[in-house]
């Protein structure tokens, strides 16, 4: 599974995300190439916009 697969699964369509896998930041253009190992700590922080 890649970061992009995971985001799709979660329905995270928002473009301003700060994603990290086990504490390492993942660049937005590397979501599709970055694997998510089993049990990894993945965080996807949504920045505010809109409003």
């Amino acid at each position: 599974m890649t970061v992009q697969n995971l985001l799709d699964e979660l329905g995270y369509t928002y473009p301003h995300l700060v994603v990290s896998v086990d504490g390492n930041l993942v660049r937005h253009d590397a979501y599709s190439e970055t694997p998510v190992p089993d049990g990894a700590d993945v965080r996807a922080i949504h920045l505010m916009a809109g409003g």
Binding site: Y14, H28, I45, H46, M48, A49, G50
Partner: protein, 714 residues
């Protein structure tokens, strides 16, 4: 006929000074009732304490009104100011104006911002703010003629059209002789809807040099347009001398240009792959909000709908004219101010004409669209056009219409009472008919135009509707209709709406992602800190003439590596540089927050002075905190049941739906009260919501008349 042939009621000559370090150094006072015009000087203390924009508005208004002043009284004022950085062309979003008045909807001060050229042009014509007081006996036009150094109060002739899009053409013809005149002129106006409703907006013009036509941006909220027409003002026209990129005569132009150019590069690089503001404007949000269950559907009952794809950003990208520099002020490369050209009007007095429709923006699409169960983009355009030209706030209209539709479906309102209109959700023709009635001040529309708070009273007294139910589903607080986000699952954003100065508008704080999606605000203290920092940060834009959008709607991903990505520190630094660069005051990011705290607390005290501003007035309708109806509960049953287990340690399988609804209500409302305690403490207010004298002292606004107001409530 030109402007020279209009009857002059009063005239005032002045020395036009080019702004220095962002300030013209004087404000313009026009009393339309007493036909009197005067200049007031702006001193260093006023600049330091109130900065400009909303700060200047409040300070001038405070001195103009009494404790008992209501919206329609002659001493009420409309004050408009941009701010020291307003009119900067190099940084995106630096041309906003803020208008303030005592609102017919809330009876307290409303402030509302707008793009367009008026605020910067007013400053370039020599004035940091305009203050309009008095009620005229006949229609008037105020003409600020910068090149001539003259301000005139003119009688508006009979042939002056009633609605903004036609009035604009009329003003162009009378006040501008050449193409250059048109480019250097901006004006304020509204339409007949503002005369007959309490939700009148004020239209700020901009002359679009590519389209060679007028466009309008709205200071929509709180009925400022209503006050404008009540004063019998038809238009405020300003003409400025030609200007360049140094019109503010900033202290350090180089710093501003460098910062601006770098920001333009950031926009050029990232917007296309992020929100596509340059293509979709704020309408990009429609789909995002739906995806996250936050788009108001059918009066905020639900957060998404299968038909959203018919009105989402992709659709608007195809509908708006593309490839134009659609900034609402020069140099805004975020350029969200899109428009639909050659729209053929289908209903009402302008049926058949071909017009430009400004927007629709997110709030309009969500308000008059999904929230009313309407998913037809052409209907949204039609309503948007009429709201703007009639001078009716699209947000209040959308939220009010949604309320009416739910009342109708719930049987609180019958076709007999609506004059035969079957106002079910999704009835686009019905909604349009109500809008036309509102503009004419006739029929059921006359009542709708008074807003939700007045309608609740009326429905309960005259139609025997269930008051408690109306209070729960009527999405207003302090008398102002909610803007368009579903807050049920974000306690912090319930505060972001409820704990505002002017009423539930999201421009103070938008914390839903931080709170609900990211879970970054787990404790009350965290939420309170966010409900301090973000309202202060966002208030600051309105002191200086900035737009909030370029702060966080396009962001270089390097931001992810910063200490606090939610604040976007590298953009905060940009603002520090621009403010220092314009005014010559070397400030820090903390100083900016300090500036806002002063103005924010002053506004809270202003509310107290006008008889509100207490804890009771920070209450919110339960619809914004949790599910009101069984259908609403069932739409998110799994989530709500789960919460009963987690939050209350109860077993939902052993509870009736009624019991579950009550359990949620008790818990959620108690949470909101706890949130209030935490936020008040963080803001330095008593548990009643009153800024303490120590707070006011530490901010340097402990003036005797300010202290006297709070002392009454301690």
């Amino acid at each position: 006929m030109t402007s020279h042939q209009l009857l002059v009621l009063a005239e005032f000559s002045y020395d036009v000074r080019q702004p220095e370090r962002g300030y013209a150094g004087q404000t313009l006072y026009v009393n339309v009732g007493e036909t009197r015009i005067a200049a007031k000087s702006v001193d260093e203390t006023m600049k330091r304490t109130f900065i400009g924009g909303r700060g200047f508005d409040l300070w001038l208004l405070w001195q103009g009104v009494q404790d008992t002043t209501r919206w329609s009284d002659p001493e009420n004022e409309i004050v408009i100011s941009s701010g020291p950085c307003g009119g900067t062309t190099q940084y995106p979003g630096s041309g906003k104006s803020i208008a303030a008045t005592i609102s017919p909807l809330t009876d307290i001060v409303i402030d509302s911002n707008a793009g367009g050229h008026f605020g910067p042009y007013l400053k370039f014509a020599g004035w940091d703010a305009i203050e309009i007081q008095g009620n005229a006996s006949g229609d008037v036009i105020i003409f600020v003629n910068g090149p001539a150094g003259k301000v005139q109060l003119l009688a508006a002739p009979e042939d002056c059209p009633p609605d903004t899009h036609q009035l604009g053409a009329w003003v162009n013809e009378r006040f501008a002789e050449t193409e250059e005149d048109r480019q250097l002129m901006a004006f304020l106006s509204t339409g007949r809807g503002a005369e007959h409703t309490y939700m009148g907006c004020l239209n700020f013009s901009l002359y679009d040099r590519k389209r060679k036509d007028l466009r309008y941006k709205q200071a929509g909220r709180g009925g400022i347009g209503t006050v404008f027409r009540h004063k019998r003002v038809k238009a405020v026209v300003v003409r400025t001398c030609s200007f360049g990129g140094d019109a503010n005569q900033p202290a350090d132009l180089e710093r501003i240009i460098e910062t601006g150019a770098a920001m333009h590069r950031e926009v050029a690089r990232w917007d296309a792959v992020q929100n596509r503001m340059r293509h979709r404007g704020t309408a990009y949000l429609v789909q995002i909000m739906d995806d996250y269950d936050l788009l108001p559907v059918k009066n905020f009952q639900y957060g998404s709908h299968p038909d959203t794809a018919r009105i989402n950003g992709e659709v608007w990208e195809k509908t708006y004219t593309q490839n134009l520099p659609d900034g609402c002020w020069y140099g805004c490369t975020v350029a969200c101010a899109h428009a639909v050209d050659d729209y053929r009007v289908r209903t009402g007095p302008y049926a058949g004409s071909c017009v430009i429709v400004d927007g629709p923006e997110y709030e309009t699409v969500a308000g008059v669209g999904s929230n009313c169960g309407i998913f037809d983009p052409t209907v949204i355009l039609e309503i948007n056009f009429y709201c703007d030209t009639y001078g009716i706030d699209t947000i209040s209209f959308g939220t009010t219409m949604a309320f009416v539709m739910e009342c109708y479906e719930a049987g609180m309102l019958t076709a007999e009472q609506t004059g035969g209109l079957q106002l079910n959700f999704g009835n686009a023709e019905g909604a349009l008919e109500v809008l036309h009635q509102m503009a004419r001040g006739e029929g059921f529309g006359r009542l709708v135009g008074k807003g939700i708070q007045r309608m609740k009273d009326y429905f309960a007294t005259h139609f025997g509707a269930d008051r408690a139910f109306l209070d729960e589903i009527g999405m207003e607080a302090k008398g102002l209709e909610y803007s368009e986000y579903v807050t049920k699952e974000s306690l912090a954003q319930q505060g972001g709406y409820g704990l505002t100065n002017k009423g539930p508008q999201h421009d103070e704080a938008w914390l839903i992602f931080m709170d609900q999606v990211n879970n970054q605000l787990p404790t009350f203290a965290d939420k309170a800190e966010a409900l301090h920092y973000f309202p202060m940060w966002r208030t600051w834009f309105g002191l200086c003439g900035f737009c909030k959008l370029p702060w966080n709607d396009v962001v270089d991903p390097k931001n992810a590596e910063s200490d606090d990505p939610t604040k976007i520190p590298h953009h905060v630094e940009n603002y520090v540089r621009i403010f220092s660069g314009v005014t010559g005051r070397e400030v820090t990011a903390d100083d900016l927050i300090r500036m806002s705290e002063r103005v924010y607390n002053f506004q809270r005290v202003f509310n107290l002075r006008l008889g509100k501003g207490l804890r009771a007035h920070d209450a919110i309708p339960y619809r914004s905190a949790g599910p009101v109806t069984p259908a609403e509960y069932q739409s998110r049953q799994a989530r709500y049941d789960q919460q009963i287990v987690e939050w209350l340690d109860l077993d939902p399988t052993e509870m009736s739906l009624e019991q579950k609804l009550t359990a949620h209500r008790c818990h959620r409302m108690a949470q909101y009260e706890q949130l209030i305690d935490a936020v008040y403490a963080r803001r330095g207010w008593t548990s009643k919501g009153v800024p303490t004298p120590e707070t006011l002292r530490s901010l340097g606004i402990d003036y005797p008349d300010v202290l006297a107001v709070v002392e009454r409530h301690l």
